[in-house]
């Protein structure tokens, strides 16, 4: 292969290093208005009065809206939210009213003039309390909501989804197990913290057509949600995502667009802009859900796990339109990448009066693996085998079966495990103690896996146009949110058409012009959009061959593409440049046929089917699984309790590497994000109030935190993937935190069962051990 597998430079490199790329907040339009939002002061309260009369009278204010103006409920999987609160507020920070004004300052001023009267209600601030039968109800009307058929809300409770796995015979499994242990873990809320805060501009023109510029991962998902919410036809809603300054899931689905649009509808012709500040970003964009895990395991003395019973209780926050699917993913992945015959899992999504949980890189996998992977080490120690050994014994192999009963055909988990063990040399070399008496060294390992958590039949498409000079325009709506899809999709097109990447211009994210893509989420773009690009290019190739066979007098089957030419196999002199056929074929008599070459490709992952409603069992519940392993070496200072991560080795089975340089960078970023969640990050919630909505009190990793990173890959091809590729964007952060937690145990014999593993928690655990 000539282009796939090469470290091509990013196609968006120059515009990013020169600062010339315009992100949404960089856009300025004439006569633009600025929006501001009135937000709830209570986590749970009835809205008795929302009085906007004073705000409306403030000079410079052009529009004021309240929940009454946007009554339609929307949601990706469960329609449980309105863009502004109606009747009651369900988390502190929820939007109640919004203003559009001539300047940002006037908008802020107007917000202060909006008078709200509340009647405070008892709040649910802990998911474990929230599932009790006497808990206050966050959504008393849950039974009236609409939801997708693969979700199981329980009206009359705070449970918005109860996903079950029942595999084998759990009672028999435990009865026959030689040892049974139970462990509990907790993962707190964290924030995506992209450096770009959410930003949106909306403009409605006089013929009721709406244009939205949004820093969003999924223009078409936004278009659809807005169409439902505002009763506008989709052809009248144009969503443009010019650039995204980091997403990590936080810019998936629909967020602040729904607040700005009703304002724009009232001030036709004038663009209205809303950009979140950092505090808003922390509280009022999606957060990662908290999760309480209980894992009971039955294991035999030979190290084989025979039964596992998991209860995952997720703190979904005030609205779980998206969160219900994270909980489902946590359910169907609940064994981790292990082959266990008897499995019982309840994965429960619980409404609380906390900020809204949503997709976050890993989509539930980081949370469950923090529990599963520490549990594996606990089991290993109990039996006197190594953490590596327990994973060799139980880790999935081709032919094994996962929690859904699916027999996995391709599975490089064991290859990745051996790769990491080899790279770190742990089985060759004993750990050397530190020369400093206060420093202890620890080694920890963790496996991980993830599937794209998306509805079975989500679609992608791509268009490729060939220009007269042999260059191309590639059109997709997969968004480059930093992961490098503009570059890798270009490489894929290059490979099929033999046209080098610098001759292909990729355009994305404009629902008026670029073709449909469900969402840029779920580590699905290389696979799904990649497949659509392959198909589009093959379609173009097919058209070229149709014309070339006339031109060259060689049948289609005997033609190949080589270096931008259509060439007769075995007779290299018979050829025609692609560019010559770009606009069709000119015949000898001066007439022409066919016209411009436009390739089109559509893709839906093949054969993915629903699992059984009561048992969660199925043949092929996901498009693919990505497996991997990471090992961490840490230093712990027993005087300060501080952990310093010194080294992380990572290996993932990605099927086929499209761009070595970019995939390496992606994994490095994933490791740092995992490291942040391991030792630094927690959204501190007290009585429903976020206590640390800034980078001083909520620290994310800096260059100082960077460990040495050894990145490698395994390539067992994905049969249905483009050139064999599968996704890795999320999986690569999944094992990092548990590997660090396991390294802490290795260093000091202490286990911290909740994230983040702060110095305080380490010191406390050291004390308790003594």
């Amino acid at each position: 292969m000539k282009f796939v597998g090469e470290s091509v430079n990013r196609v968006d490199g120059i515009k990013k290093v020169t600062g010339s790329l315009k992100y949404v907040d960089d856009l300025k339009m004439s006569r633009m208005l600025y929006a501001a939002v009135k937000r709830s002061e209570y986590p749970h309260a009835k809205l008795l009065k929302v009085d906007i009369t004073k705000a409306e009278k403030l000079p410079g204010v052009k529009a004021v809206i309240t929940g009454k103006d946007v009554p339609n409920r929307v949601g990706l999987y469960l329609e449980d939210k309105t863009f502004l609160a109606n009747d009651k507020v369900r988390y502190r920070g929820e939007a109640i009213a919004a203003v559009a004004a001539e300047t940002h300052e006037i908008a802020q001023e107007a917000i202060k003039l909006i008078e709200v009267e509340y009647e405070e209600l008892p709040a649910v601030t802990n998911a474990l309390e929230g599932i009790k039968s006497d808990a206050p109800l966050v959504h008393p009307d849950l039974g009236d909501y609409k939801w997708g058929p693969i979700f199981f809300p329980e009206p009359g409770t705070n449970i918005s989804n109860l996903y079950k796995i029942r595999k084998g015979d759990i009672d028999k499994g435990f009865a026959e197990a030689e040892h049974v242990v139970e462990n509990q873990f907790f993962v707190p809320h964290i924030q995506h913290s992209p450096i770009e805060n959410h930003s949106v501009i909306a403009q409605m023109d006089p013929e009721e057509a709406l244009t939205i510029w949004s820093s969003c991962q999924s223009p078409f998902a936004v278009q659809k949600a807005l169409s439902v919410a505002f009763g506008l036809p989709q052809n009248k809603i144009r969503v443009i995502s010019p650039a995204v300054g980091g997403g990590f899931g936080g810019k998936a689905g629909t967020t602040l667009e729904g607040i700005v649009i009703p304002l724009a509808m009232r001030v036709k012709g004038r663009p209205v802009k809303l950009t979140y500040g950092r505090e808003d970003e922390f509280i009022n964009s999606f957060v990662r859900q908290g999760m309480h895990a209980t894992i009971k395991t039955g294991i035999n003395s030979d190290g084989k796990i025979v039964a596992v019973k998991n209860t995952f209780v997720w703190d979904g926050g005030a609205y779980t339109e998206y969160g219900v699917n994270i909980v489902r993913a946590g359910g169907y992945s609940s064994t981790g990448p292990y082959d266990i015959p008897n499995v019982w899992t309840d994965s429960v999504c619980v409404y609380t009066n906390h900020p809204v949980g949503g997709p976050y890189r890993g989509f539930g996998m980081s949370e469950i693996h923090f529990a599963i992977e520490q549990n594996m080490d606990i089991l290993a120690e109990m039996l006197g085998i190594t953490p590596i050994e327990v994973r060799r014994i139980n880790g999935l192999r081709p032919g094994g079966s996962n929690a859904t009963g699916q027999i996995v055909e391709v599975c490089g988990l064991q290859d990745c495990l051996e790769d990491v063990v080899d790279k770190l040399g742990w089985e060759r070399e004993e750990k050397k103690p530190s020369s400093k008496p206060n420093i202890y060294i620890g080694r920890g390992i963790s496996c991980g896996f993830k599937a794209p958590s998306m509805p079975n039949n989500v679609a992608s498409s791509a268009i490729i146009r060939i220009n007269e000079d042999g260059t191309c325009q590639l059109l997709v709506s997969a968004q480059d949110i930093g992961q490098g899809s503009d570059t890798t999709l270009t490489q894929i097109a290059s490979e099929v058409l033999t046209i080098p990447p610098d001759k292909i211009t990729i355009k994305t994210g404009d629902t008026d012009y670029t073709p449909y893509e469900w969402q840029t989420v779920a580590s699905r773009i290389t696979y799904c959009a990649g497949n659509a690009v392959v198909k589009a290019c093959q379609d173009a190739k097919d058209q070229l061959f149709e014309l070339a066979q006339i031109k060259l007098g060689v049948p289609k089957e005997k033609l190949i593409l080589a270096d931008e030419y259509i060439v007769a196999k075995g007779n290299e002199n018979k050829k025609v440049p692609i560019k010559e056929l770009a606009l069709g074929l000119s015949m000898e008599d001066g007439s022409g046929i066919h016209g411009p070459i436009i390739g089109r490709g559509s893709f839906i992952p093949p054969d993915v089917k629903n699992t059984d409603k009561t048992t969660g069992q199925g043949e092929k519940p996901t498009a693919f699984w990505t497996y991997g392993c990471q090992g961490a070496e840490i230093e712990v200072d027993i005087e300060t309790g501080k952990i310093k991560v010194k080294k992380v080795a990572s290996s993932f089975d990605v099927g086929k590497i499209i761009n070595p340089k970019l995939i390496e960078g992606q994994v490095e970023g994933g490791i740092l994000q995992g490291l942040g969640s391991a030792i630094l990050e927690e959204l501190i919630l007290e009585n429903g109030i976020v206590k640390n909505p800034n980078f001083v009190d909520y620290k994310i990793p800096t260059a100082d935190d960077m460990p040495e990173m050894i990145i490698s890959f395994v390539e067992n091809p994905e049969e249905t993937g483009p050139f064999g590729a599968r996704g890795v964007a999320e999986p690569c952060m999944v094992p990092t935190a548990p590997a660090i937690a396991n390294a802490l145990y290795d260093a000091l014999g202490i286990r911290v069962n909740s994230l983040p593993i702060t110095a305080e928690k380490v010191l406390k655990a050291i004390k308790e051990k003594q």
């Binding site: 020169t18 960089d26 980078f695």
Partner: protein
């Protein structure tokens, strides 16, 4: 009340009127449409707004525009001269030291300031210099490598 200030912005002499309470970041972004410097936090915590004032990196979100009077300001837009990328910009591309690109202008300016001050920094010094610039995407490794490459090139050219 507005104040008249004179400063050099990306090699151009500027006279400009600003209100006393406006930040330099706001003024370069809004009045001059130099939007390379970003507002990630508005509170000096993320470094996305890093520009050079008299060759020193500063958080433009914390500096008042009136304080720019008499100063020389360099933003990412002024870094490439005659459309030719600065070495450090090219190094960022070559090393894939950027992903979403939102931290990139600030990161490059911090790196540039370091190299102007200390053309042959150690890796530790590079990390130190960019420790006020948050990046959520890259894991920093390739950024450090990119800056080190420029330093090494400068060293071997001597």
């Amino acid at each position: 009340m507005k104040h008249k200030i004179n400063f050099i912005l990306n090699n151009e002499e500027i006279t400009h009127e600003v209100a006393a309470n406006r930040t330099l970041l706001d003024v370069i972004r809004e009045d001059f449409d130099l939007t390379g410097a970003k507002e990630g936090c508005g509170a000096g915590e993320c470094g996305a707004c890093t520009i050079l004032v008299d060759r020193k990196p500063i958080n433009a979100c914390l500096m008042l525009a009136v304080e720019a009077d008499g100063k020389e300001i360099l933003t990412i837009e002024g870094l490439s001269v005659n459309n030719k990328l600065d070495q450090i910009q090219q190094a960022f591309i070559d090393h894939a030291a950027l992903q979403c690109g939102y931290c990139t202008p600030g990161m490059i300016m911090s790196g540039k300031a370091l190299l102007m001050d200390n053309p042959s920094p150690t890796e530790e010094e590079v990390k130190e210099a960019i420790s006020g610039n948050l990046c959520r995407c890259t894991g920093y490794k390739k950024i450090v490598e990119a800056i080190m490459e420029v330093a090494d090139k400068t060293n071997s050219a001597r």
